[in-house]
Amino acid sequence: MSDILLARYADALIWLARYVERVENLARILDVNETFARNTEGGQDWAPIVQLHSDEAAFAARHREATAETVLAFYVTDATNPSSIVSAVRAARENARMLRPLISTEMWVQLNMFHNRLSALSAADLAPGRLSPLFSEIKLACQTHTGITEGTFYRDQAWFFYQLGRYLERADQTTRLLDMKYHVLLPDPRDLGSPVDAGQWNVLLRSAAGYHAFRRIHATGMTPAQVAGFLLLNRRFPRSVYLCVREAEMLLSELRARYGLRGGTGAAEQLDGLRGLLSAVTIDEILVRGLHEFLDMIQLRLNLAAEDLAVGFFGYSAASPSAPSVPAQ
């Protein structure tokens, strides 16, 4: 059994990792929006979070206005919203449940407890004073999952697929975050490169847990180009798009070589091409050509890579049957 992996399990592993990664990112976005975006113009703007996830229609079907209450309810506790945290944790747990023969008991128990905890949340838990501790708890639970996985998950094919899912999702999430914040914060392209309100860029960097890392290479000052460049191209920051693509590419290539797998050629080519591009291009070139277009192109190529993995390893191209909700594209 050690040298083979059911195709269905490989698929579920990718999704397990993706859902947990997605939960962590969503908690980060909601948390910083709640905590740091407050001081911009005396209020908070919650609508971009809905736009970021392309959830305008689903949101409008449930709520009339994008306020802190409605957006938080929609993205944290609404079990009927497939992109909510509680739904994503549920999806992660369902994939884990299917993967029980493969994953460690400790991974399962922690996810099960996480799920039980979130299922018990009520509207009262989203009261202003309780939000930040709640998001910390959610992030911590995701990181605990990651740590338990690192420390207990057997390193065979399954591990590679799991890690692939994690890095593909993280790369995607960082491009989304950057796309939204960049345009909200700096709608006018002519302002590129100008110094801006540092508070807002703190928010962006903190969403990605990157503020302190950023300060290590840019001790003073903060321009939009520097922040975008850091999140896209930095070689050492674990949430940068470059690093995630590089990890995914290395994982896939080692997976295919070590286990003699023939699938995934297209994905390997996509990731190789992306990495080449991200290591050659400068942030100024990207900004000149248009950041939004560049991010779109990266997301498209990440999707093509994921699609090719599905076709090559799992034998189908449609959305995963093990994933109750498909990622917001």
Binding site: M1, I4, A7, R100, P101, N112, M113, F313
Partner: protein, 475 residues
């Protein structure tokens, strides 16, 4: 202390108590005496929380809102002496031998029908009789690889077999998990008591499965076929796949090409030699059985008939384990083995026979009436407990379809001390040991003790509000 009040509980009545009447209970009684009820309760709560966190749950179909429920675990163990265990072990082995010989005969020459020991129509007209099995030779003649035998104890303390489960008996995962739970929650209770271990079930089952592989498979690859993660026993499927170290597959993971079975892996198709299937016959292969089954594998029966894959349990074992065939077990054992039953049956009246029906109708209020085809405690009428209307309904069903029913005297199931709502009270229990058969039969030294948590209830099934206990077989 804990048992002092229990021992004078009027609910004990004349029932046989597993803890008080059986000398094997002495060491546990002594250890329990050192615990306060609060301590017992506290540890029980911790154990329950652990089960919840582990997600050791089962699905209740009648309970839509509670998809995941914990199988309640009772912390007070049930103890069996070495001598009692010997009777159970040899009795179970005897029954499994007889069942396998019966099935081999029914699907080959049918001598037992020609000799008039079994009525032919009972077998050949049976919904679970599978003509497709005719003349298929199975390695070692093993049809029933896994057998669960339901055993009760009457008020004299004697063991009686209630039924043989020769299709896909479940519950063995609880046997092992309950022991682990016990070891964590009550290490002091176990200290100094020599128990037979239960944790080698997985390797034993895997070895037996490899023994029933097609002979040309040199290093047989085994899989466990599950209906999927929404099945009520999925937790057990996961557990067994892990204990055996084999892939847990669903029908959609398998494919049949050239009458050979393969699983879809990331590296392409990989050969499968033996399938421990936890799917009923009807769903196994839409080409042969239910065409609407999405759980099965088209072509599986072709591969099976060609001798290219082993199935456990074999197809068609359901004809041997139903409640009508059960009534004939004493005769079947005598016919094939020339022996008396080591574990006796409960006296059973076959309503398909005129005298059985007449007796049942005359004594309806004293008898337990069971449909022969149902599992899980559904459709049972317990005469002494039934209302007048329920008895009338039962009578009408009996007259409408007598062959579908058997009746048995109301046996007083034994009781065991059980923690319910913070008190230790007597509750009825039964026992299901598990026998694994490849080339020969091995019985796990332990088993599932199920307990009816509702006061006075005789129905111990998990789907009907039952719980379970750790079962200790003493060395």
């Amino acid at each position: 202390m804990i048992l002092d009040r229990y021992a004078t509980d009027p609910a004990l009545g004349d029932f046989y108590c597993e803890m008080l009447n059986d000398p094997a209970g002495a060491p546990v009684r002594a250890r329990l005496a050192a615990l306060s009820i609060e301590a017992l309760h506290g540890r029980a709560a911790a154990a329950e929380a652990e089960l919840y966190n582990l997600g050791i749950t089962f699905t209740v179909y009648s309970d839509k809102d509670a998809i995941d429920r914990i199988l309640p675990f009772d912390v007070i163990p049930r103890v069996l002496s070495a001598a009692d265990w010997r009777q159970i072990e040899t009795g179970v082995i005897q029954r499994v031998r007889a069942l396998n010989l019966l099935l081999a005969d029914l699907y080959h020459e049918r001598k037992i029908l020609r000799d008039g020991v079994l009525p032919a129509d009972l077998v050949l007209g049976h919904a679970q009789f599978r003509p497709i099995m005719q003349d298929l030779d199975l390695p070692h003649g093993t049809y029933v690889t896994v057998c669960g035998t339901d055993i009760i104890r009457d008020d004299a303390g004697g063991f009686l077999v209630l039924e043989d489960n020769a299709r896909t008996p479940s519950g063995v995962s609880y046997v092992i998990e309950n022991r682990h739970m016990m070891q964590r929650a009550f290490p002091d209770l176990l200290r100094g008591i020599a128990l037979r271990p239960v944790d080698h079930y997985g390797p034993q089952l895997r070895a037996a499965l490899r023994e029933i592989a097609p002979p040309e498979a040199l290093d047989p690859s085994v899989v466990l076929l599950s209906p999927g993660s929404y099945n009520s026993a999925f937790f057990e499927h996961v557990f067994l796949a892990r204990e055996m170290g084999v892939p847990l597959v669903e029908g959609r993971d398998l494919t049949v090409e050239n009458d050979r079975v393969f699983m879809r892996t990331t590296g392409g198709l990989a050969r499968v030699d033996v399938i421990y299937r936890r799917i009923n016959d009807e769903f196994l292969d839409p080409e042969v059985f239910r065409a609407d089954s999405a759980l099965g594998v088209p072509g599986l029966m072709r591969a099976y008939r060609a001798g290219n894959v082993g199935l456990a349990n074999a197809v068609g074992t359901g004809v041997a384990d139903d409640k009508a065939m059960y009534a004939y077990m004493p005769r079947i054992i005598r016919y094939y083995l020339g022996q008396d039953q080591i574990l006796p049956n409960v006296e059973t009246h076959l309503c398909r026979e005129a005298e059985g029906l007449a007796y049942t109708l005359d004594h309806l209020a004293e008898l337990v009436v069971k449909p022969v085809g149902e599992a899980g405690g559904y459709g049972i009428t317990i005469g002494p407990r039934a209302s007048r209307a329920e008895l009338a309904a039962c009578r009408a069903q009996l007259l409408a379809d007598p062959a579908n029913y058997i009746s048995q005297p109301c046996i007083s199931l034994s009781v065991a001390p059980t923690l319910v709502d913070g008190e230790v009270v007597p509750r009825h229990v039964d026992f299901r040991p598990f026998a694994v058969t490849g080339a020969k039969t091995w019985v796990l030294p332990g088993g599932l003790t199920r307990v009816a948590l509702r006061q006075g209830s005789l129905i111990v099934n998990s789907s009907q509000g039952g719980g379970s206990k750790d079962t200790w077989v003493l060395e």
